[in-house]
Symmetry: C2
Subunit: 341 residues, 2 copies
């Protein structure tokens, strides 16, 4: 009897039997063939290493977060580096786990002025004007010609294949309910809006993206309270909360935590919270302990082939290629290239 399975999202299907049919390469097989020059190193100052207390069996739990680079970083990423250098999160904890939504960490006593941990010197104040600023980034880029844009509602299967265009400047996804179009830029998924002379662009809330918790506007958050997405992309948060990075390793230590039973998935007792042993900038670790990661350039040929294959699966398991993909279903390939521990 053949092993029953469903197709792999992120790893190549293993050879299960002699019966496995031959077919086109899977998305991961395409990535595996990328030239070394297509992989881009992530600077150590853009990596955060988050060490949680070991689990009940004593197994270590560590996650690595990549901070978002300019022009998307805005004041929050600088604040996060300041907080990490001050070892501000050490001894705090995971405070909230809401199913199909987010895991959130920070100071459990943040509400209580007498008990709250003091923030370090040098944090930059933020406001919701900063979101506007993010949405107003103007790129010196030729706008997509109107002849290339989505034309008509009388869409046929072959027209839908064009929803994902491999334009000279990168991979563009046309059908996006949350933006005029979405596009990968320097390794990050973005939403985009065109006017006649410029492109407005912003990072989007895909699985694993990290953002800044905040109160009601105009409070835009300091960066001390962070969350990561552990469910279906909550794209309605785009441009409403600052995105500052993404978990690139170890998200399973966050996504598999017990869900909180309080409102919004907050843990109700101190015992439920998972202690954070430390959060460190990789650049502050001894060089032998610094993790080294690369992402696959989103502006090179292999990524375009990978994205196209995510949108039109032709590897043996599939019967009907979709003819399209949403930007959060085309995760940017990342890899660890040096093992520090």
């Amino acid at each position: 009897m053949k092993k029953l399975l469903i197709a792999a999202a992120l790893v190549a299907a293993p050879a299960l039997s002699q019966e496995e049919p031959q077919g086109q390469p899977s998305p991961n097989e395409i990535v595996a063939q990328a030239a070394p020059s297509e992989w881009v190193a992530i600077p150590a100052q853009d990596l955060l290493v988050m060490t949680l207390a070991p689990d009940r069996d004593g197994k270590p739990r560590r996650a690595v977060i990549q901070l978002i680079p300019p022009p998307f970083s805005q004041p929050w990423v600088a604040n996060i580096r300041t907080l990490a250098k001050a070892h501000w999160w050490d001894g705090l904890g995971i405070v909230r786990v809401q199913d199909n939504y987010v895991v959130q960490w920070g100071d459990p006593e943040a509400e209580d002025e007498a008990q709250a941990r003091a923030l370090p010197e040098g944090l930059v104040a933020t406001s919701d004007d900063d979101y506007t600023q993010v949405a107003e980034i103007l790129l010196r880029e030729t706008p997509v010609p109107s002849s290339k844009r989505r034309k008509s509602g009388t869409t046929t299967a072959s027209a839908r294949e064009k929803d994902l265009d491999l334009v000279a400047t990168g991979v563009v996804v046309r059908a996006d309910p949350y933006a005029q179009f979405s596009k990968f830029r320097a390794g990050w998924p973005t939403g985009n809006a065109l006017d006649e002379i410029s492109v407005h662009t912003w990072p989007v809330h895909c699985y694993g993206m990290v953002g800044v918790g905040r109160g009601y506007s105009p409070d835009a958050g300091s960066g001390a309270e962070l969350y990561t997405v552990i469910g279906h992309a909550p794209r309605h948060l785009d441009r409403n909360i600052a995105l500052v990075g993404r978990v690139i390793e170890g998200i399973e230590h966050l996504s598999s935590l017990p869900r909180g039973t309080g409102p919004l998935g907050f843990y109700e007792t101190a015992e439920e919270r998972v202690p954070i042993e430390s959060i460190r900038l990789a650049s502050e670790l001894p060089s032998a302990e610094q993790p080294v990661f690369e992402y696959l350039s989103t502006e090179r040929e292999t990524f375009a082939r990978y994205a196209e294959s995510r949108a039109n699966r032709r590897d043996p398991f599939f019967i009907v290629p979709a003819g399209g993909a949403d930007i959060c279903n085309i995760p940017v390939p990342l890899r660890r290239v040096a093992q520090a521990d």
Copy 2:
């Protein structure tokens, strides 16, 4: 200091302080105001109660699955009822947990003909022709007039608001990379394709949807091996794997399980597998133990208002309404109306 939080996906934001601003109602507040007549009872023969072994602290773990009704059910749902009536899953287990993808359960020995549990009599054989059949369901419905369809790539913010149309026959989402349009039908999210005379429709892989594991085509799976989605909607599986239902309660007992470390997230040892104590059709339970659930009609006014508010958040937390939503980010409201245990 105000409690730092990020907006709730599925529950209303609690009153945190005197400072909370007044605003438009949230999606959940809209649902709370639905008339009793807008809630539709789910028949007991469409509910499966899945009882896992208690967790390490002795807490019970139970999930409820709603089976998909005709015309989407096809042969698989009948097979699942046959398997449940035979108590076929009792004593088997969760065999696979892949992060941001699926939890899968069934017979861990399915690969080994000598060890595999025999399937009950009466299962209907399926093949990938059945998928074609699903895609070929023709509905007696007036096709969306071409004047109402997406018109042009020169999309403006106001045009994008129309991506989510509240047409007479229900809520339609225009911008869907995986279908010409998506639409709610009798409580289920569907993908759709039009030709000149008919509408082809199929259920789609949102968070919590349950599908049938299979091998390579033409094997379409018997229904004995099932999975549920625990991450971003893997819509590339639509029309490639049979969908048979959705988890409507207790998915946190599945989504928070430790991830498997084998290929595709399979557990590598028997000890890791969570035992299934039983899976029962609710209609076979004593009536006092039968759970009773309702879903909010997707063809009535409150659901249309709810969907519109999911696409354009105006409750106090939000600054920029998105102007659209993808179909998997508009979860159909469900509620338990009688507590059986």
